[in-house]
């Protein structure tokens, strides 16, 4: 087993998948020679050549649009958006074509593409470099949206995304790109898309989160345990399609639920989770399903970002509130 951080896990997975299947091509801005601004594609061009790992022109719409054509003509493009904040020029391609080609052609053409993008705040960055807009993608039929929270998950989920015959938006939590290392098996393994993971079993309350926020949630969980509260923690892993079953099973057991995400609150993925819980576990609830999220504000510049991202203290506070609800 190798010990690696999330970024290295992404790099290693790309390498393994490129080795396994020569249809896999990797490209994007600064992705080739430079190996990406975060170095996620480091050394891939050296190893596989300029026909497998390429620098693209600075044009997000075309990175995705050209990828569609490559996917249709026998390749598996794994493209990079340098930052999630710059994916918007590609929205037309993603929403109008990536998501629709299979349905539009009744299965004749498909887009087996992965669109990777670093997302999220907490890295003291310039404007447009900190947002989490997974809800924008999760609302679009035809797309899958996946977010890993650990190096181990990053590897298994990215490999699954690359092998998936449907297009996958793969969001990488850049705050924890290098935050911690973990043992990651050298051999290949797959983590299924569309399945959440119960990271920690408990009885007092269900906490659902994903991506970078999982770290704060797990810290908060330890703090809660010190107070005798035992949360069950679910890492959603796939934002679309959501694994309703795992969530409902847990909520039926605990009767209480807190959803933690970094993205803005209103119309976020948390709202969808609450709806699912209301529709499927209403009679099991002992407290209102609750969200603790980013504010409905523009993501603040670095001097203000520590206010924005839910901290372990705020999470514990909410946990306590919900556990004590009407008792």
């Amino acid at each position: 087993m190798a010990v690696m951080n999330l970024l290295q896990a992404v790099n290693e997975t790309l390498r393994q998948e490129m080795k396994r299947d020569d249809r896999v091509v990797v490209f994007g801005e600064d992705v080739g020679y430079e190996g990406g601004v975060f170095r996620a594609t480091a050394d891939l061009q050296k190893e596989f050549g300029t026909d497998r790992c390429m620098d693209s022109p600075l044009a997000e719409s075309a990175i995705v649009g050209v990828g569609i054509g490559m996917g249709i003509n026998g390749m598996i493009p794994v493209v990079e958006m340098q930052f999630m904040g710059f994916v918007y020029p590609a929205f037309n391609q993603i929403i109008c074509h990536v998501a629709r080609m299979r349905n539009r052609s009744r299965g004749r053409y498909t887009v087996p593409m992965v669109i990777r993008m670093p997302y999220g705040g907490g890295i003291r960055a310039l404007e447009h470099h900190s947002e989490s807009t997974e809800a924008l993608f999760a609302h679009i039929p035809g797309l899958k949206v996946v977010i890993p929270s650990t190096p181990y998950d990053a590897k298994g989920l990215l490999a699954s995304a690359i092998r998936d015959e449907d297009p996958v938006i793969f969001m990488e939590p850049k705050r924890i790109y290098r935050a911690f290392k973990q043992e990651v098996p050298e051999e290949e393994y797959l983590i299924p898309i569309g399945k959440a993971k119960v990271v920690k079993e408990g009885q007092s309350i269900t906490i659902i989160s994903w991506g970078a926020s999982m770290r704060e949630v797990l810290k908060a969980t330890e703090m809660a345990e010190a107070k005798g509260i035992y949360p069950e923690v679910i890492d959603l892993r796939t934002i679309s399609p959501i694994d309703g079953e795992t969530i409902i099973n847990s909520v039926k057991k605990t009767g209480r639920v807190l959803i933690v995400h970094e993205a803005a609150k209103t119309n976020g993925v948390g709202a969808e989770l609450v709806s699912i819980i209301n529709e499927k576990a209403f009679l099991h609830l002992e407290a209102p399903p609750t969200r603790l999220t980013g504010f409905d504000t523009i993501f603040p510049l670095p001097k203000g970002e520590h206010h924005y991202i839910p901290t372990p203290e705020r999470i514990v506070n909410k946990i306590t509130e919900l556990v004590n609800y009407l008792t």
Partner: protein, 362 residues
């Protein structure tokens, strides 16, 4: 050579056959046997008759919104005629002649305009992408398909069609640029029909020609008389040769005119003069080829009438088939969102099926 001789910056337009069907550039005239010429002519007539029927059915309330091609048949048939089976076509939505030329089944085409996704599901061996409505977005797919062909060392070229309006889009610039950088075998075929709905060509760009835009992206561009099927054929042939021999992309501007409405929802009398339309009708691409064929003794009045009648009845038969087989099964709406239906989709479908069942509607 062709591209050097017709520098778009000099606004020189490539023409082989004039309005009267006379060959004015005999040296450049392709040497095609009668059967091939008749086949080309027939495809143009089939396109015209298919449009005429569709417009009729639309007026009768049997067809939905339809985008006619009248006046642009030579540009569509002449260009697609050059492609081989292994090549790709990435259309917008006004390329009926090219679809037919590549062997797409008219039933499928009508089925699409009738409002059924199965109209876009062509057999494996017909390499045409579905109609793409978001203007200019599909040009990128054409670059991607061509780039993939090049990287995989497959001998395939890609033609993509778009209108003059599309050249104002960012995706046009991004696609041309990318094709230039990676020298992809892509043929950018602009049907400059002078209008984007109501907006005239002059309001799209200050460039004298669309063809000259090629220069900024490092590829040749050529302005071609879009109603001259021979000039279109030759220019596209040259572009295809460039693509096949690894010389990269080409931009062709087919200078033509949209005789009909933008779509059946449009009334062009609001924004253009009838005299202008009448002037262009004199340049009709089908009349022009007919004049040529008759002058050359390759087509008689009688044969011509027969062709038109046959084409009309083929269109009629195809539409009748579509009317009888055009419905969509509920499951198909859900089935093609992903390779496997998600639990959410299954649940939504089943709940709705239950509802229908309860009302005795299934």
């Amino acid at each position: 050579m062709l591209f050097e001789n017709y520098n778009p910056m000099e606004k020189k337009m490539f023409q082989i056959m004039n309005q009267e069907g006379e060959i004015i550039e005999p040296d450049l005239m392709p040497n095609l046997p009668r059967e091939v010429l008749i086949k080309m002519y027939r495809l143009m007539v089939q396109t015209r008759e298919t449009d005429k029927k569709a417009l009729l059915y639309q007026r009768q309330g049997r067809m939905l919104t339809y985008a006619p091609n009248i006046g642009q048949e030579a540009a569509q048939v002449g260009s697609a005629f050059v492609l081989e089976k292994k090549d790709w076509m990435v259309p917008a939505f006004r390329e009926l002649g090219a679809w037919l030329t590549r062997g797409a089944d008219l039933k499928k085409i009508y089925l699409y305009w009738y409002g059924n996704e199965f109209g876009s599901q062509l057999p494996e061996d017909i390499r045409i992408l579905p109609v793409s409505i978001p203007i200019a977005s599909h040009l990128q797919h054409a670059v991607g398909i061509a780039w993939a062909a090049k990287l995989q060392k497959k001998d395939e070229v890609v033609i993509t069609y778009f209108g003059d309006g599309a050249t104002s889009q960012g995706d046009f610039a991004e696609s041309m640029n990318w094709a230039g950088v990676y020298q992809t075998p892509t043929i950018f075929f602009c049907q400059n029909n002078q209008f984007a709905i109501s907006v005239p060509r002059a309001s799209q760009t200050a460039s004298e020609t669309i063809a000259q835009k090629a220069i900024a992206f490092g590829m040749p561009g050529i302005l071609v008389d879009g109603n001259d099927i021979f000039a279109i054929y030759v220019a596209t042939m040259e572009a295809v040769k460039r693509g096949r021999s690894g010389e990269g992309p080409t931009l062709i501007e087919a200078y033509t005119y949209r005789i009909g409405a933008h779509t059946t929802s449009d009334d062009p009398t609001r924004y253009r003069k009838n005299e202008e339309v009448e002037e262009w009708k004199k340049k009709d691409p089908i009349d022009r080829m007919r004049k040529y064929l008759m002058r050359e003794g390759m087509l008689t009045e009688e044969e011509d009438k027969t062709i038109a009648l046959e084409c009309a009845s083929i269109a009629e038969e195809a539409f009748k088939y579509v009317e009888a087989n055009g419905d969509i099964a509920l499951e198909d709406i859900f089935k093609y969102q992903y390779k496997e239906m998600t639990p959410q989709l299954k649940e939504q479908m089943e709940e709705y099926q239950q509802f229908l069942k309860g009302r005795g509607e299934v």
